[in-house]
């Protein structure tokens, strides 16, 4: 019974804590990397565990220049990401780049898929290994 109470308590508290964690982290760490582009004001973030992955479908307009920033909390390790077109043709792979950001223009407006992957860890079941991953988009004309 004690365990059950603890479980219910954790079920309520963990999401609140995680959301707050992501918001603060994104604001402090992610948004400065968007500059000098204008952040589009949208927050695409999630708390992920080692081994998790996420796809984010976004639309980008032609005649705009974009900056894509992916930032992840340190405990998640070296989080990588790929940018592909809607037919999954690879455009950018962060593992082949030294830059933390991806600056780009699309010749034609289109949807792109950003695939984020958190590396595996020996402690994949440990709650302390979860962390925030945020995808931010900046733009300028």
């Amino acid at each position: 019974m004690k365990n059950l109470r603890l479980i219910i308590l954790l079920s309520v508290l963990i999401p609140i804590g995680m959301n707050g964690q992501c918001r603060g982290f994104t604001k402090k760490t992610g948004r400065p990397l968007v500059e000098p582009y204008i952040h589009n004001g949208q927050m695409n973030s999630a708390v992920l565990f080692p081994g998790d992955s996420a796809d984010i479908m976004l639309t980008f307009y032609s005649e705009q220049q974009y900056r894509l920033v992916i930032c992840a909390e340190e405990q998640l390790g070296d989080v990588s990401y790929q940018v592909s077109d809607i037919e999954r043709n690879l455009i950018f792979d962060s593992q082949n780049s030294d830059s933390k950001v991806f600056d780009f223009i699309v010749e034609s407006s289109q949807q792109l898929v950003i695939s984020v992957a958190v590396p595996e860890s020996d402690n994949t079941h440990d709650i302390t290994d979860q962390g925030c991953v945020a995808v931010l988009v900046g733009f300028k004309n």
Partner: protein
């Protein structure tokens, strides 16, 4: 089942329902949230999350400006109606509508209208429990920068980011989604009405046709809330609109990607969209109908 496994269930539940604001998620590998399976508990299978998002109203307003659109005072929603919206759904959708109008006014340097729609956003923000977004510092920044267009764009973008992040923090993503929906509807409404005013503006028509991509993502986002009746009502409306957008033809030509000396990659290839006047008229009528339902 040990305590750690229960924690994992709780965490996955959180990922399903609250990860990402302005972002929907839709787990591919596991069953419905109401029926957790052993796969969730074991978590040995990797979790694949899918999120959707669309360009912000600020981006859309900039795009309209780039396409040669003008500011038309009669098009945005009536600021005086702000007090008429009493339910959370009405307030959320109209927050999106006013937010798009605010961005439209700001990009086109309409200072008076900017202040009017900021006030609408503030009123609805307070009603939705986000009064902390419009703190004294933010109000001061607005007053100091009201005549500086670029600064105002940044401030307004930050205001909406703060709102979205507060909603996420409070686990109220469905409200955030309704705000996004309202903003998108108003953006398309403004675009189609501006296209009526300037029927020879092909750049503007192209920007309207391109909304088919955002609509796809918007529907994906709403599908994340399949248990929510309000989202489902809106989803049906948008699916009807999507059927019209799907009449737009698309011809893709492959191209090369290249990186310039500043490190900016150009993603090549062209996508030609074909939209005749009849399709545009259908879109114009349908989006006006959806918008009327929201603002009345």
């Amino acid at each position: 089942m040990n305590i750690k496994q229960y924690i994992l269930i709780a965490s996955v539940g959180f990922l399903l329902f609250s990860c990402g604001e302005e972002v929907g998620n839709n787990d591919l590998d596991i069953g419905s949230p109401e029926e957790p399976t052993i796969d969730i508990v074991e978590r040995s299978d990797k979790i694949k999350n899918i999120f959707f998002n669309i360009p912000s109203p600020m981006e859309t307003s900039k795009i309209l400006q780039g396409a040669g659109a003008t500011y038309e005072f009669t098009l945005p929603s009536n600021p005086s109606a702000v007090d008429d919206y009493q339910s959370i759904v009405e307030q959320s959708l109209n927050m999106g509508i006013y937010g798009a109008d605010l961005n439209y006014a700001t990009v086109f340097s309409q200072t008076t209208e900017t202040m009017l729609y900021l006030q609408c956003a503030r009123i609805l923000g307070n009603e939705l429990g986000m009064e902390q977004v419009f703190d004294e510092e933010t109000i001061d920044r607005i007053e100091w920068n009201l005549e500086i267009n670029d600064s105002m764009q940044v401030i307004i973008t930050e205001i909406f980011w703060e709102m979205n992040s507060y909603l996420e923090e409070d686990d109220r993503q469905s409200i955030s989604t309704l705000i996004i929906v309202g903003g998108w509807v108003e953006g398309v409404y403004l675009s189609t009405q501006l296209a009526r005013i300037a029927p020879d503006n092909d750049a503007l028509k192209l920007r309207i046709a391109e909304q088919k991509y955002s609509l796809t993502n918007l529907i994906g986002l709403l599908n994340s809330y399949e248990d929510d009746d309000i989202s489902q009502d809106m989803l049906e409306e948008l699916q009807e609109l999507d059927a019209i957008f799907n009449k737009i033809t698309e011809v893709k030509t492959a191209g090369e990607n290249h990186k310039d000396e500043n490190g900016v990659t150009t993603i090549g290839g062209s996508i030609k969209l074909g939209m005749n006047d009849a399709i545009l008229e259908e879109i114009t009528a349908k989006i006006a109908e959806i918008r009327t339902d929201i603002i009345n």
